[in-house]
């Protein structure tokens, strides 16, 4: 056994990259104020130490790299990259299955193409972690998962193979013709009915007599995870009345709600705050049409000012461009009043907290995964470039754009 441990240890060391020392003109740890002339030591894929240049001695065998700006690897709290492929042809669009309005059993891990060029595209701007999965467009379209963007296969240590159940209330989730649901009220009714079923299923599961165990039901199993608060239920809702419906459902069924999109959330600040619900705010540059026609570029700022937990997202894009870049959306939120550090947090630490992965990623602190994004200037400015991406302590090639 001891011998085995030694071998395992050797294997890890061999697999890990050379130890790194990143020297940043400005280091945004997200654990405190930015450090001017900071150093991050990286060992075996993890952050070993973070501090000012004076406070840290760089061991001789560490590879050094100097860059103007360092932030934690960017986290996109809600995207569909890997499912909504770059070409936008039937063969590469896996984000929405329209055969039934409620299908929480559709797993993101069965749909994610880690090698789609758009995954590389967002990584090139510093995005190291994505919460990706089924898109809005059905009352429940499926599941999401969390993965780092350097993995070439879905089996490679996902941060979470099942991070959320993805729901949608609003006109995009309605069916056309005589199909169900044709109205908002009907959408909520069928959702409540399904959650009631899941409650019954859960009761049976909890019965002690094994003979009374119900037959396995994939759909209800996924909803049971929601009812047991093992995963949050994300509901995309833009109109204020759709947001209210989501809050009402969360109260009735006591699940962990994550509000998503939420264009008109600025009208419901008090209600959302009272419910203690986090919001993954729509892309700042989302098109202001349909349910989102009243979106405000100051939405993120107004929610943040009220003390509501927020993250930003790239969301889902149906056409051109096929994906947004969450870094640019945070930049625009900052330009429209979200304080700079809060805007950075909305794509790092704040996003990690909402996704439940802040023990691993989202800030630069000893023991955390060594995921870093490096820039040649203010990461939010149009003319700055991402010049380096480090994931799990390894430099990932970056095509500078």
């Amino acid at each position: 056994m001891k011998l085995f441990n030694i071998f395992l240890g050797l294997a890890l060391v061999t697999a890990a990259q050379a130890q790194l020392a990143i020297q940043g003109g400005s280091v945004h740890t997200m654990e405190g104020p930015a450090i001017t002339n900071g150093v991050i030591l990286i060992k075996d894929g993890k952050i070993e130490a973070v501090g000012s240049a004076e406070s840290i001695t760089i061991p001789e065998d560490y590879q050094k790299r100097q860059v103007p700006v360092v932030i934690p690897g960017v986290i996109d709290a809600h995207t569909t990259v890997g499912l909504s492929g770059i070409l936008n042809i039937d063969a590469d669009q896996e984000q929405l299955e329209k055969s039934a309005p409620i299908q929480p059993e559709l797993r993101a891990i069965d749909a994610y193409n880690a090698r789609d060029p758009l995954v590389t595209w967002v990584r090139n701007f510093g995005v190291t972690t994505v919460n990706t999965g089924h898109a809005p467009g059905a009352v429940i379209s499926g599941q999401a998962m969390i993965i780092k963007t350097h993995h070439l296969n879905v089996s490679d240590s996902n941060l979470s193979p099942f991070s959320m159940v993805m729901g949608n209330l609003g006109s995009k989730a309605l069916a056309s013709g005589k199909a169900v649901p044709g109205t908002r009220a009907k959408a909520v009714a069928i959702l409540r009915a399904e959650l009631l079923k899941a409650q019954g299923y859960l009761k049976k599961l909890e019965a002690k007599d094994p003979d009374k165990a119900p037959d396995r039901n994939l759909r209800l199993e996924a909803l049971v995870a929601v009812l047991k608060k093992e995963v949050p239920f994300l509901i995309t809702a833009h109109r204020h009345h759709d947001i209210q419906a989501a809050l009402r459902l969360a109260k009735e069924f006591e699940f962990r709600l994550v509000l998503d999109g939420a264009s008109e959330a600025y009208q419901l600040v008090d209600e959302i705050k009272a419910a203690g619900v986090p919001v993954i705010v729509h892309p700042t540059m989302m098109r202001s049409y349909g349910d989102a026609e009243n979106l405000s570029f100051e939405n993120a700022k107004r929610l943040h000012d009220a003390g509501i937990s927020i993250a930003l997202q790239s969301g889902y894009e149906a056409y051109v461009p096929k994906t947004r870049v969450v870094l640019f959306e945070a930049a625009m939120a900052a330009a429209y009043g979200l304080p700079r550090e809060a805007a950075l947090a909305s794509i790092t630490k704040g996003a990690a907290k909402i996704l439940g992965i802040s023990d691993r990623v989202g800030s630069l602190a000893p023991g955390k995964d060594a995921d870093l994004a490096l820039y040649d200037g203010d990461p939010f400015e149009y003319t700055s470039h991402c010049v380096g991406v480090i994931i799990d302590g390894a430099s990932v090639p970056v095509a500078k754009r």
């Binding site: 770059i86 070409l87 540059m285 202001s288 100051e298 900052a334 330009a335 400015e381 149009y382 003319t383």
Partner: protein
């Protein structure tokens, strides 16, 4: 007082104010000015009389006429109003998918100038736009050039030529968007063949028109489609051609070579692959910058360095929003991203203004800040190519059409409750032409 009478009085009051406006001379002093056709001026003065710029120069070195209203804009940045060479604002529509080539269709017959998208475009600093129908046809209709004046009807926004006709171009497209089931083409070869066939017909029609000049009896029956194509053949109507892939770009150049029409290439996603050919043909380009490639096969290889590559070879390059693809309020961002990818700062600002003016045959009137040109300009809070800068005011022909300090205008600029409505929240029945 009846309400109708009250409204009439208000209108009279504003009508007289508008006469007074014509005479006003304003001196904007202290801003950093980008005249575009001249070097940037760190602390400048721009003088406007009525609807025209009468002087641009350094602060202190530019004489301010007596009686001029001085507007202190110290710390601000001024540049020409932005020109978008490809936009779909105003709920525009064109061809109706009944045929692939519809030159008789005029988009001016479809535009709602009171749509929220028009107000948002003013908030983005746009002053002149080329509004076009979509790319789902080989030829989807006649485009229209508009000034985004605060008007009530499309007529109020039109730009008339010396003959009193509204100015515009012709929208064409190739590649996959216009490839569909019959009567649309099924392949690229067929697409080009159908277009050539129409131009040959137009050439014959043009000949008949020429013959009728000698002998009116020989005049052909009026044909709206042929009349419009003859305008294209005679260079009176520029072809604005949607095209993405390198081979499609070359196909357009080939058709232009054959029929001699005046041309602006639009989108030109793969311009970086055929920039030398574009430059050799001396054809201007109107390009777009997207947050990611893809969304369709043809846009897979789009690159932000298109601007830099075309600039290097001297191609007259403008940007466009393709609103709603990019919201007009993010138009300046195109310039920022082009610079990020290697275009010069001057080239990017030129592409947002003067290059568009050239492509719309309006370089005599708009596109730069110089004496004699229309007083179309914007006032910014800072560097036009920074994410943190905001358009604070938009002026067209000496009138302010957007003011961020005004709550109604701020709603258009930033969004919020009621921003998507075709009617502003607190203004149910009419928009005053002047604020």
């Amino acid at each position: 007082m009846t309400s109708a009478f009250r409204v009439a009085l208000i209108f009279i009051a504003f009508a007289s104010l508008s006469v007074a406006e014509e005479e006003i001379t304003r001196a904007f002093t202290g801003a950093k000015i980008f005249p575009i056709t001249g070097d940037p001026i760190d602390s400048g003065t721009l003088i406007v009389r009525g609807s025209t710029i009468i002087a641009v120069g350094k602060n202190g070195a530019t004489e301010i006429p007596e009686g001029a209203v001085t507007v202190d804009v110290s710390g601000k940045v001024m540049m020409p109003g932005l020109i978008c060479t490809h936009s779909h604002i105003g709920q525009v529509s064109g061809g109706d998918s009944s045929a692939p080539i519809q030159p008789d269709v005029r988009v001016l017959d479809s535009i709602n100038v009171r749509d929220a998208s028009v107000r948002k475009a003013r908030a983005g600093g746009l002053t002149t736009v080329n509004i076009m129908s979509g790319s789902g046809h080989l030829l989807s209709g006649q485009t229209i050039y508009l000034k985004l004046r605060k008007g009530e009807t499309v007529e109020d926004l039109m730009i008339l030529d010396t003959g009193g006709k509204p100015r515009g171009g012709m929208k064409m497209a190739n590649g996959t968007n216009s490839i569909k089931t019959a009567p649309f083409p099924g392949t690229r070869g067929k697409s080009a063949a159908l277009v050539r066939e129409q131009y040959i017909k137009a050439q014959a029609y043009q000949k008949k028109l020429a013959a009728a000049k000698e002998d009116p009896g020989k005049a052909p029956e009026r044909d709206l489609a042929m009349e419009a194509l003859v305008e294209v053949l005679e260079g009176k109507r520029v072809v604005h051609h949607h095209t993405h892939r390198h081979d499609d770009i070359l196909t357009v150049l080939r058709l232009r070579e054959e029929f001699g029409f005046r041309l602006v290439l639009h989108h030109v996603s793969e311009a970086w692959k055929v920039a030398p050919q574009i430059a050799a043909a001396k054809v201007p380009c109107s390009i777009i910058l997207l947050d990611s490639p893809g969304g369709k096969l043809e846009a897979r290889d789009i690159e932000w360095r298109n601007g830099a590559e075309l600039e290097k070879l001297g191609v007259v390059t403008s940007f466009h929003t393709d609103d709603p693809i990019n919201d007009s309020r993010w138009f300046l961002r195109s310039g920022g991203f082009a610079v990020r990818a290697g275009m010069s700062r001057h080239g990017a600002l030129y592409a947002l203004t003067m290059a568009g003016a050239i492509q719309l045959d309006m370089e005599e009137r708009v596109g730069s800040l110089s004496a004699g040109k229309d007083a179309d300009f914007i006032i910014l809070s800072g560097d036009p190519l920074s994410v943190y800068s905001r358009v604070e005011e938009t002026w067209i022909e000496g009138k302010r059409v957007f003011n961020l300090a005004d709550p109604e205008d701020k709603l258009c600029a930033v969004g919020g409750e009621g921003a998507g409505s075709p009617r502003l929240t607190n203004m149910c029945c009419f928009d005053f032409p002047i604020k």
